[in-house]
């Protein structure tokens, strides 16, 4: 697990994000114990209160659960809870990007083309019907081109 104090995201959210991702990816499995507060705080070199906040957040989401006297465990039904959350985050990030593009005057089709290109690069996938091999060139809003 890595945290970066230079990121703009509070550290407790970075920890929650990492564990949520770990549960979704299967590095933490349902029923497994999570590291103790002190243990994780020392490993990541962060304040134990910050780890507590991350664990509180994950408990609220139902991804981890406390067992009396034993500590925190990944909830049995965690993976199915973690996935919708990931979908939510992807949508939020996409929406942010789309808004930036629209505000800059890019046409929706050009944003969509960029999206496919970025997705193709990120997944290094072979061309498929959904992801065209040669994405159309980035075009400005025609109205603006006329001006």
């Amino acid at each position: 697990m890595q945290i970066d104090p230079r990121r703009h995201l509070p550290i407790y959210l970075q920890i929650a994000e990492a564990i949520r991702g770990g549960v979704a990816a299967g590095t933490y499995r349902p029923g497994e114990a999570l590291p103790s507060l002190r243990e994780l705080a020392v490993t990541l070199r962060v304040n134990p209160n910050t780890v507590q906040r991350a664990y509180d957040e994950l408990s609220r989401e139902g991804i981890v659960e406390a067992r009396r006297g034993l500590g925190l465990f990944v909830a049995e039904r965690a993976p199915s809870d973690a996935r919708p959350r990931a979908v939510e985050e992807v949508r939020a990030a996409l929406e942010r990007g789309i808004r930036i593009g629209l505000a800059a005057g890019l046409a929706p089709e050009s944003i969509a083309a960029d999206f496919r290109q970025v997705l193709a690069t990120a997944t290094r996938s072979i061309p498929s019907p959904v992801i065209p091999a040669a994405p159309p060139k980035l075009r400005r809003n025609p109205k603006e081109a006329d001006a």
């Binding site: 104090p5 507060l37 962060v46």
Partner: protein
């Protein structure tokens, strides 16, 4: 300015709830050196069990504040309480309960590390040998070397062990990371976390490294030219402050709508960039609602960027500097 802060969570359900009286409380504290005002009307309250990072440009008054808490300086005005005691009247009682690592460590150069620790141990009523040994091993402090030939990093680690071994209720660290290489800095951060006793302890440390503040501190206190310009939860600050980029067709309406407080603004042609103090309370919507204004982007800032804006901002609100 009055600033109080409540930690978001106690350390684990097993620890008893700490007493409600603050570990550190300052009310209207002013300190002058001759005609120079070093600290100006400081009110600050730090609850037990929390870690506070004190930041500010050089000469902002950080060292003076720490020295006031130890009773090493006398305030010109105001009251100071440390663990419920008066630092001037109860200085000796306080020494037993407070650990202190000054910015410059004074130790006789000819003493070895082991001798320094033995000397400090003799001054204290309580000393946890197991903890001291564990930390010395972990930090790899050479105990047989004379301190005169130790690096600054090793010296700070030695000072930290001497401050922590008596298991104080309050730990005061004056720029512990200054001048340390990145590895030694990490070790100091780790020590402050690993040495924490099972009961809550309070830590106040001053630092120039916002990275370290974000790792360690529950709350951040910002001193600029002797004034406390901010004290609050570190995470809340990251969530609140936002940079808003917008296109302004004519002139930006003055004054800005109520609730839009800015640290500063920059203008280049029609594009304005405002750094607003709190983007959560509808401030961005209010900017969006202005005629002839289009919000192009809203971004979070890193703690370091926020600090720089605070340090540069004039003390009044809604004041701006324009660069065109």
């Amino acid at each position: 300015m009055n600033a109080t802060f409540a930690p978001h969570a106690q350390v684990g359900p097993a620890t008893p709830a700490p007493a409600h009286s603050p570990a550190i409380s300052m009310h209207g504290v002013t300190k002058r050196f001759g005609t120079t005002v070093a600290l100006d009307d400081i009110s600050l309250s730090i609850p037990p069990g929390s870690i506070c990072g004190l930041v500010g440009p050089n000469g902002a008054g950080k060292t003076t504040l720490v020295r006031l808490l130890l009773g090493l300086e006398r305030p010109a005005a105001g009251t100071i309480g440390v663990l419920g005691l008066d630092p001037l009247r109860d200085a000796l009682a306080l020494r037993e309960r407070v650990g202190y690592v000054p910015d410059t460590l004074h130790a006789d150069r000819w003493m070895t590390g082991a001798e320094v620790l033995r000397f400090c141990r003799g001054l204290r009523r309580h000393w946890n040998d197991t903890l001291a040994t564990r930390l010395v091993d972990r930090l790899g402090i050479p105990l047989k070397t004379r301190v005169g030939s130790l690096s600054r990093g090793t010296l700070v680690k030695l000072g930290l062990v001497a401050a922590v071994a008596p298991e104080p209720e309050l730990l005061l660290l004056d720029e512990p990371m200054a001048g340390l290489d990145p590895l030694a800095r990490e070790e100091v951060v780790e020590t402050v976390i690993a040495a924490a006793p099972d009961r809550p302890w309070t830590v106040l440390f001053s630092s120039h490294s916002l990275d370290d503040v974000q790792r360690l501190a529950d709350s951040i206190a910002v001193l600029v030219a002797g004034r406390l310009v901010h004290h609050g939860a570190t995470d809340d600050l990251l969530t609140a402050v936002r940079r808003v980029r917008m296109r302004v067709d004519d002139a930006l309406p003055r004054p800005l709508p109520a609730g839009v407080d800015v640290y500063g603004s920059q203008r280049s042609g029609r594009e304005w960039t405002l750094v607003i103090r709190d983007g959560s309370g509808g401030a961005i919507e209010r900017l969006r609602g202005l005629p002839g204004v289009e919000v192009l982007g809203v971004d979070p800032l890193s703690l370091e960027e926020i600090f720089k804006h605070m340090a540069r901002a004039p003390s009044g609100r809604n004041e701006e500097r324009s660069q065109s």
